[in-house]
């Protein structure tokens, strides 16, 4: 009777959770409803986790003696894992968000892999189809876990150079084949015990070892700036692994949640790749930056430096300003000062908007979060396709810590590594001001012709320092605020 009731309760709770996840994600389609969306999804999670304790009423006979210990272990693991991650998530800086997401994602992949390992070591899979699915989930989960850890290390600067060796792709291919071969052996050996040349546990360890190595080897050669795409791919991988393990455990809530995330991750990956005008396989398999050593087109004009104070005052007397922020702004922690300056301009009747490139920051949308953190209202923040036509009728485009995303070579120079990438048309504004630390090149290693254009002036210095000087200069004018 108790088993019956617990089955009914778990089934109902998981159904509710699956619905709440979908509804919660649906509410994320607008900044107005998004906070309630994550709350709704959170309730779904809480309900599902609480209901999962009812599995205690239906454990397999072999595990019945362990039940009190196992229940204790569940509580300890939930509190410990949940507590540490919650604490980490509450205090992480917004600039470090990409690596944090990578870590949480790796945890999910690891959990899916571990579930598969319990199933495999316990010999619990019934039938070939289930065994193959378990192995598939284990492979994807393990790759996602070890790959995410490498992605974290790269984003965090622990590994700061892509590791590239000749013949790497071929070697990775071999590791992939080896993993599949061990997996195939496990399936064959489980059917025909006579074919056993390797004890089963050893084969399972070997399988996980190969899969984890594959995740590491795949991610090592990819450049740090491509990590957002990689995280998105691994996010999709973890979703897939969770969905597949959901089938193995006969739990539709896991299947639905996992597959929704799998599809979402895939879509985000494609959107990001499109924003860089590259294919996903180009990101994963080719070494970007190597081919950029071609001859540069002749660049006309010269760099025209301008003092921060003068630039600030010029913007105060402009009618409209569009700001193009890049990760350089976040590096100097200048978002707060930027918004202070913007408010000063707005008080003087200047129309100010922010233009965000899809790949600004270290993951898609990170620049939006950083601006929101500084207090910039979201209705001042515009995406590329919504604002690009407005540059031509704007007095000043202020580019801060961004480079490649405003390089006109993407539009005109067919030989450029970034040719075809959608860019913000900052060069079409009547006047362009670029706040930049020095005369260096962008991530793609390409000289930016915009900086040499007649309508462009360069304001050299650390973004935060420059903005402080701009604020002082505008305040120094002592102009009254316009209502």
């Amino acid at each position: 009777m108790l088993t019956l009731i617990s089955q009914l309760a778990i089934g109902t709770a998981d159904l509710a959770a699956a619905f709440l996840f979908l509804y919660g994600l649906h509410r994320m389609s607008s900044p107005v409803t998004a906070p309630s969306g994550i709350f709704v999804a959170g309730i779904g999670m809480a309900v599902a986790v609480l209901a999962s304790f009812l599995y205690a009423f239906g454990v397999v006979p072999a595990a019945r003696a362990n039940l009190p210990v196992n229940l204790g272990l569940v509580v300890v693991a939930l509190v410990l894992g949940g507590g540490i991650a919650w604490w980490g998530g509450r205090k992480v800086a917004m600039t470090a968000m990409p690596q944090m997401v990578a870590i949480y994602n790796g945890m999910g992949g690891g959990a899916a892999g571990a579930i598969a390992a319990v199933e495999l070591f316990g010999g619990k899979a019934q039938g070939d189809a289930e065994l193959i699915m378990t192995l598939l989930g284990a492979l994807i989960g393990a790759v996602s876990m070890s790959g995410s850890v490498i992605a974290w290390a790269k984003l965090d600067g622990v590994i700061n150079k892509p590791v590239r060796v000749k013949g790497q792709q071929a070697f990775n291919g071999l590791v992939m084949l080896a993993t599949l071969a061990v997996g195939a052996y496990i399936v064959v050996a489980s059917v025909d015990k006579a074919a056993l040349i390797l004890p089963m546990p050893t084969a399972i360890y070997l399988f996980f070892g190969c899969a984890l190595a594959l995740g590491i080897l795949m991610t090592l050669p990819i450049g740090g700036a491509d990590m957002p795409v990689v995280i998105s791919i691994f996010n999709a991988f973890t979703g897939l692994a969770v969905g597949i393990e959901g089938y193995v455990l006969q739990n539709p809530a896991l299947m639905i949640a996992g597959m929704v995330v799998g599809a979402a991750g895939m879509l985000l990956t494609l959107l990001m790749a499109r924003a860089m005008n590259r294919s996903v396989s180009n990101v994963v398999f080719t070494n970007f930056g190597d081919g950029a050593k071609h001859k540069q087109g002749k660049i006309q004009g010269e760099l025209k430096p301008e003092q921060p104070g003068d630039a600030g005052i010029e913007m105060r007397y402009a009618a409209s300003v569009i700001i193009v922020p890049g990760f350089g702004l976040a590096v100097s922690q200048g978002q707060g000062k930027l918004f202070e300056f913007v408010k000063l301009l707005q008080a003087g009747g200047v129309s100010v908007k922010f233009a965000i490139h899809p790949v600004a920051g270290r993951m898609p949308g990170q620049m939006d979060v950083l601006l929101a953190e500084a207090g910039v209202p979201y209705d001042m923040i515009f995406q590329l396709e919504d604002i690009n036509d407005q540059f031509a009728s704007t007095d000043v485009a202020l580019v801060i810590g961004a480079n490649d995303v405003v390089n006109p070579a993407a539009r005109t120079d067919k030989s450029s590594a970034i040719f075809g990438m959608p860019i913000l048309n900052a060069d079409k504004a009547k006047k362009v001001m670029v706040i930049k630390r020095g005369e260096g090149k962008g991530y793609a290693g390409i000289v930016n012709g915009l900086f040499y254009a007649d309508n462009c002036s360069m304001v050299y210095g650390d973004a935060q320092g420059v903005l402080i000087k701009m604020i002082e200069a505008v305040r120094g004018l002592g102009l009254p605020a316009v209502a």
Partner: protein
């Protein structure tokens, strides 16, 4: 009367197909401005794997299974709790303008509308 869930391979494929389609359509409607919270939010959703971890650990009969099951729950709980914490924190930061009237003067068509009507 019993309520066991039994999903055959083909029913599983139907569920996967429908869920993937739903995910694609729902996520496609999320504006680019929310892509970071979206990524961490979907990351949170696959934290549901913790439920599978609890099942595996409760049914663990050997020491080895207990150890691996413990890590499954530990990692799954971290995924869920951490994903929720960062997503909630980020979304709380997105605020509209305090004085919409001040913007209407030069925004003409109205900014809030463009947020809602934005295509991806």
């Amino acid at each position: 009367m019993e309520f066991p869930i039994s999903i055959s391979v083909f029913v599983a494929l139907y569920i996967f197909m429908l869920a993937a389609f739903a995910g694609w359509v729902i996520i496609g409607r999320v504006p680019a401005i929310l892509h970071t919270p979206l990524m961490s939010g979907s990351n949170f959703v696959h934290g549901i794997v913790v439920v599978g971890g609890v099942y595996a650990l409760l049914n663990a009969s050997t020491m080895q299974e207990q150890v691996i099951g413990f890590f499954a729950v530990l990692l799954g709980a971290g995924n869920a709790a951490g994903g929720y914490a960062v997503t909630d924190r980020m979304l709380a930061m997105f605020k509209p303008s305090a004085h919409p009237a001040a913007h209407a003067a030069h925004g003409k068509t109205g900014h809030v509308k463009s947020i809602h009507a934005r295509k991806r």
